[in-house]
């Protein structure tokens, strides 16, 4: 029983990270109908920015001693990473996606794959392909509850992810830009006709999604101990499946999808076989696209001729 609980806790924390990344996918797809393949790499860059920022702020000095890296510095690292990722996201949108926005569907798809590949391999050149140990931005404290081991890092993941998701929800519901984002996801041309500066809104969407992914990246590094330049590939794909599972274009859907995928992966690894942990995500994708393509919380969109 404790094993099951342990696997569930692990699955939910992994799932929260997937949810953070899935939010970026779902928002961009909702507006542009484009799968931002490069989003996984933005997640990776966020993690590495956190790595280098923490290094620059002297985290190495705190490791091994009983002192913890000061909390305000940890928050600073998070902010730096989120800002850097937001800039990267906006740059990608401006340089690679905007020129092909009006092209037939295939072209932006290939461009997105190209950007993703570019960032992966540039990452390998710049950051070294070997896994790097993630610095102790948060020092680890373990608790044991009913035989289940929970670290403060897992708790932080839940708290931070929840906070960010709530923040996003409030933003989308209450602010002007948020409302504009929703308008664009319904009908981008009508929004333009209503005088909304679509370029600005799209830029903001990319920025917010990327910032969330970066937060996910730092949490991932803390939880998974190492990072490497290819960490975005599989994780990004799983987060995309999570977005589809929840209903692409739906923000609560992305959250639920993320948690479900995290759970499915962890339970498969624990009870079936670790070799199939990645395959299960793809199986879920295929099943959901065959049985309920609009996702759990999605709305069936009628395609007009």
């Amino acid at each position: 029983m404790t094993q099951l609980l342990q696997q569930i806790i692990n699955g939910l924390s992994l799932g929260s990270i997937y949810a953070l990344i899935a939010l970026g996918y779902t928002m961009v797809y909702g507006i542009l109908k484009l799968i931002n393949f490069a989003h996984g790499e933005v997640f990776m860059v966020g993690a590495y920015t956190g790595f280098y920022a923490a290094g620059a702020l002297g985290v190495a000095g705190f490791e091994g001693r009983n002192q913890a890296f000061p909390l305000y510095l940890a928050v600073l690292v998070l902010i730096i990473a989120m800002a850097a990722a937001a800039l990267l996201g906006m740059a990608i949108e401006f340089l690679a996606y905007r020129p092909v926005r009006s092209a037939p569907r295939l072209t932006p798809l290939i461009t997105a794959i190209g950007v993703s590949l570019f960032l992966q391999n540039a990452g390998m050149l710049l950051f070294s392909p070997n896994p790097q140990r993630y610095p102790a931005i948060l020092s680890e404290v373990r608790f044991e509850l009913f035989g289940v081991i929970v670290t403060n890092i897992k708790l932080t993941i839940f708290v931070v992810a929840l906070a960010l998701m709530l923040g996003l929800h409030l933003f989308v519901q209450r602010t002007w830009t948020g409302r504009a984002m929703r308008a664009l996801s319904f009908n981008i041309d009508a929004a333009k006709l209503m005088g909304i500066d679509t370029n600005r809104v799209i830029r903001s969407t990319f920025a917010i999604g990327s910032a969330l992914a970066a937060a996910g990246g730092i949490l991932f590094g803390l939880d998974q101990i190492t990072i490497n330049p290819l960490m975005g590939v599989l994780t990004g794909l799983k987060a995309f499946v999570a977005a589809v599972l929840g209903g692409i274009g739906s923000i609560p859907g992305a959250v639920i999808g993320g948690l479900l995928i995290g759970l499915a992966e962890q339970l498969t690894a624990g009870y079936l076989s670790p070799e199939y942990r990645d395959a299960i995500t793809f199986v879920i994708l295929i099943l959901i696209l065959l049985l309920k393509p609009e996702g759990l919380l999605g709305v069936v969109r009628v395609e007009k001729v």
């Binding site: 690679a96 020129p99 290939i110 461009t111 590949l117 199939y276 065959l290």
Partner: protein, 336 residues
């Protein structure tokens, strides 16, 4: 008479290739020969992928999986057949040729069947979703091979001899199969069926309104393209002396996409050029190997932004040659 001419021409072409083989084997080092063989295999991959991605407009990015099925299938069947066939025909080039080609066909059939299995559910999806699902299937296939103990799992399948699979692949077989597949797909593309496929690419709903059985055609095209990837896989396996799941990662699918994008999505001659380009650039960039994928990625992005139709667009090389002739003046219209 026409059939006889065709057979004679076919025999002639094969003889030419056979003759070229001697020239290649004498004139080039093994190292360069390998690149030439890889170029041929790439051409088969590219032309096959072009049928579904280019001509039919259904974007698949997991084709490495079908190449893997073909490779493992051909390798396994080849090993099983070697005994009986050698028993019948003795040990010699004829027996080897029979075993090899039967194995390749078996690999192609396996690959085609897996193409059907993947295609049938997936081709109901459109655009981006199809791409991700094919990616997923490609990965699933690789993971399955990684865990298949009777095929060697992660270590790979090397047949039953410590020195690996027999190296049947040589210049003649690669380019004979290149000719066969290019001809097949060329004929298919410029036939009635091919026009229906192009119609599906341009506007699927309109095509369906004109009574084109679009799902059936899409799945058929998918299966054919999977089968040709299978042939390429079989040829590759018998050149590598073994089949490893690692040889068919997502990177391989990306290489295939670069091949058809560079040449022009929808053009067979473009696919041929693209296939050669990837094989050659692989070696020319040997010292820049770390940058190879970065450069490929940039190439994809730049091509998409600057010239999305690649080198040839949907045109063929021979169409370009034909356009040089001046247009005939229009016939005067008849007055009623």
């Amino acid at each position: 008479m026409r059939a006889l001419t065709r057979v004679a021409v076919a025999a002639g072409v094969l003889l030419v290739i056979y003759g070229l083989q001697f020239g290649v084997e004498a004139g080039f080092t093994q190292y360069v020969q390998r690149i030439i063989l890889l170029a041929g295999i790439n051409v088969i991959l590219a032309v096959g992928l072009n049928l579904i991605n280019g001509t039919t407009g259904q974007f698949s990015i997991g084709h490495a999986g079908f190449m893997a099925v073909g490779a493992y299938g051909a390798a396994y069947i080849g090993v099983q057949l070697a005994g009986p066939v050698h028993g019948l025909l003795g040990l010699g080039p004829l027996a080897d040729a029979v075993v090899f080609n039967l194995a390749l066909l078996a690999g192609a059939i396996f690959a085609g069947i897996s193409g059907l299995i993947v295609g049938m559910p997936s081709l109901r999806l459109r655009g981006d979703y199809l791409a991700v699902v094919t990616l997923g299937f490609g990965e699933i296939i690789r993971i399955l091979f990684n865990n298949a103990t009777f095929l060697g799992s992660a270590t790979g399948y090397f047949g039953d001899s410590p020195s690996g699979l027999p190296e049947y692949t040589n210049f003649f077989w690669v380019f004979a199969w290149v000719t066969v597949i290019v001809l097949l797909i060329h004929n298919l593309t410029f036939s009635q069926t091919g026009r229906s496929l192009t119609a599906i690419r341009e506007d699927e709903i309109a095509a369906e309104a004109m009574a084109t059985p679009s799902t059936r055609l899409k799945v058929t095209a998918f299966a054919i393209s999977a089968a040709s990837a299978g042939i390429a896989g079989g040829l590759f396996a018998h050149m590598q002396s073994g089949v490893r799941p690692e040889d068919f990662r997502f990177e391989k699918s990306i290489d295939m996409i670069v091949m058809i994008i560079v040449g022009g999505l929808g053009s067979i001659s473009g696919a041929i050029l693209g296939g050669i380009f990837v094989a050659v650039s692989l070696e020319l960039m040997r010292d820049l190997q770390q940058y190879r994928l970065v450069l490929y990625a940039l190439l994809l992005i730049v091509i998409m932004i600057v010239r999305p139709q690649g080198l040839l667009g949907t045109r063929e090389l021979h169409h370009l040659l034909r356009r040089k002739r001046p247009a005939k003046p229009a016939a005067p219209t008849e007055s009623t």
